[in-house]
């Protein structure tokens, strides 16, 4: 049997056009939703187009019409069968509420990131203690290699913060972008089943441990704390959160003991991954500003005690934020 294609198309075209118009209206703004009455009509049109597709598929006149109806039904299906939360993406809410909540939900992954960094730091300090010549490998920063900690402290105290005169903004922007890249990279490497994330966290730990050992061994503990704490108490946790997010992804990939499919596990963690990424990006913007505009000033311009106190206050506030913000009020 052959479908009277012309008659069929003529009869159904107004319904297809109406469905197409509604789909275009919805597509114009991702946040748009239909009223109940419009939704009922939309559903009827979708069912009609589906029935038309089934009819066309069973007849000879496949091809262009079938492609058109498949395209129409596919788009309508996405709107009709979507059962997930359709709230708009709100960046402010994501950072202030969703981020600390996601952090607490996956706190074990954060603890693992901290543990790996501590192991790396222990390795880095031990390696430098055993082999002082390994400094160039363990601390791949030219600025930290060309002089001893004592020489650097003396030079920078003499310069009174003028070493960055006329380039603080640029320096700050470079720090923000570089650190954000590192943190997001640590996050993204979760897709290597966490192997890449482990490597980066361990390596970061090695560098931190080597630098800390170098300065403590050189008798510059107070300078080290005054230099690192103001930005480090935000920057280092941000990179650890990148690692935490990487482990969340890796855990969803591996899915030990889970009966849900891998695709479902990954789908379930997407909102948390976004919230954690948004949170760490904001933290690194702040850390970049502090590092360029505060951390590089030393005594006599700013007393070390003040810089250390500033860092400790930040640490307390960050801890409070991550552990308390966005908590559901208990009844």
């Amino acid at each position: 049997m052959i479908l009277d294609l012309e008659r069929f198309t003529a009869a159904e075209r107004p319904h297809w056009s109406a469905l197409e118009k509604t789909l275009e209206w919805l597509a114009a703004d991702p946040g748009r939703t239909l009223s109940v009455a419009d939704l009922e009509r939309f559903h009827t049109l979708y069912q009609r187009a589906s029935a038309d597709l089934a009819r066309v598929s069973g007849f000879a006149s496949e091809g262009e019409l079938k492609n058109y109806l498949e395209w129409l039904v596919a788009r309508a299906y996405a709107e009709i069968h979507e059962a997930r939360d359709r709230r708009r993406f709100r960046p402010w809410r994501s950072v202030t509420i969703d981020f600390p909540r996601a952090f607490r939900r996956h706190v074990r992954a954060f603890q693992l990131a901290v543990a790996l960094t501590i192991i790396g730091a222990a390795f880095g300090s031990l390696a430098l203690r055993i082999d002082a010549d390994a400094k160039s490998v363990l601390m791949p920063f030219e600025g930290l290699q060309r002089e001893t900690p004592a020489q650097r402290v003396a030079r920078e105290q003499q310069l009174k913060g003028k070493q960055l005169a006329g380039m603080k903004g640029r320096f700050s922007a470079e720090l923000m972008t570089h650190n954000t890249q590192v943190a997001l990279f640590t996050l993204a490497l979760g897709m290597t089943f966490g192997i890449g994330t482990i490597a980066i966290l361990f390596y970061n730990g090695v560098v931190i441990g080597a630098v800390a050992y170098d300065y403590v061994h050189g008798g510059q503990l107070v300078f080290l704390l005054g230099w690192l704490l103001p930005h480090g108490v935000i920057e280092i946790p941000a990179i650890l959160i990148g690692g935490q997010t990487g482990f969340v992804i890796a855990h969803a990939l591996v899915g030990w003991g889970s009966r849900i499919s891998r695709a479902d596990r990954l789908r379930a963690i997407l909102p948390d991954v976004v919230a954690l990424a948004a949170g760490l990006a904001v933290m690194l913007v702040w850390a970049g500003l502090v590092e360029a505009f505060l951390s590089q000033y030393h005594e006599p311009v700013i007393p070390y005690s003040l810089k250390i106190a500033f860092g400790l206050v930040e640490a307390v506030l960050l801890t409070l934020f991550l552990t308390r913000a966005g908590r559901e009020k208990s009844a």
């Binding site: 000879a60 006149s61 262009e64 498949e70 903004g169 640029r170 990279f185 897709m191 990954l266 997407l270």
Partner: protein, 254 residues
């Protein structure tokens, strides 16, 4: 057999539809266009920030570094969110990111698939992502696998225009009602569908292939229902096929 270049989705209503998957090369071209767009936006950014140099070189430099970074990070996700799965490159090449279950694309999905470009780009020139596109069942790079997305082709589609195709011209084959009825009876649906497809795609065939296809189809139709010479002899092969299809698909009740 399951076609490797389509994703078939069966709806709860029992209807099945197919999403044609985009291949790695079209996606690579779309990416190249997007990189060119980012480079263009960067030059616009430089022009806008230029006058800020009166306050010293530091301010425009800092803003440029931060904004360019934000641009590279946000461009893909923002475009795919606001244009329903399309960037400039994807739009030009008729590609679209969609949910791998055919559902509505979520903001979290576009953000994650774009964040994971950092791994897909490893070790250089999107090698890891490219390997994923070639070897995974639905041509997904790592970002797509994590976000539950696929990239599909969205060719321009519209309902077939039979008026344009068959025209309102005089059809000598419809003159003889009993032969037209026999034609409707004898032509199998598969052959009718094939001939309709050939007419719809005639402009895409090269002249030699077009002549061969219509000659073969017309020969077949002529053998199924022989028409008297006075009704059919003036018709070329393509017109003969066109008239047969008009008879088969139209009721000619008037």
């Amino acid at each position: 057999m399951i076609a490797r270049d389509t994703l078939r989705i069966r709806t709860p209503e029992g209807i099945e539809f197919a999403l044609p998957l985009a291949g790695p090369f079209s996606r690579m071209l779309a990416l190249a266009i997007d990189l060119a767009v980012i480079a263009m936006l960067d030059s616009v950014l430089r022009t806008i920030l230029g006058p800020l140099g009166v306050f010293g070189a530091d301010l425009p430099d800092a803003l440029h570094i931060a904004l360019y970074f934000a641009l590279t990070l946000v461009y893909g996700a923002a475009a795919e969110w606001f244009w329903r799965g399309q960037t400039v490159g994807k739009r030009l090449l008729g590609l679209r990111v969609v949910d791998s279950r055919g559902l509505r694309l979520e903001a979290a999905q576009v953000i994650v698939r774009n964040l994971l470009r950092l791994v897909d780009a490893l070790p250089a020139l999107y090698l890891l992502g490219g390997i994923g596109c070639v070897f995974t069942r639905y041509h997904q790079r790592l970002g797509d696998l994590a976000a539950g997305t696929i990239v599909v082709r969205t060719p321009r589609v519209s309902p077939p225009d039979l008026d344009r195709l068959l025209g309102g011209k005089y059809n000598s084959l419809a003159e003889s009602r009993h032969l037209a009825a026999r034609l409707r009876q004898k032509v199998p649906p598969e052959l009718a569908g094939l001939a309709l497809e050939a007419l719809l795609r005639r402009d895409r065939l090269n002249p030699t292939a077009r002549l061969e296809v219509f000659s073969e189809l017309a020969g077949h139709f002529r053998s199924l229902v022989p028409y008297p010479p006075e009704l059919a002899e003036q018709l070329g092969d393509e017109q003969y096929v066109r008239d047969v299809i008009a008879v088969v698909y139209r009721s000619f009740s008037g």
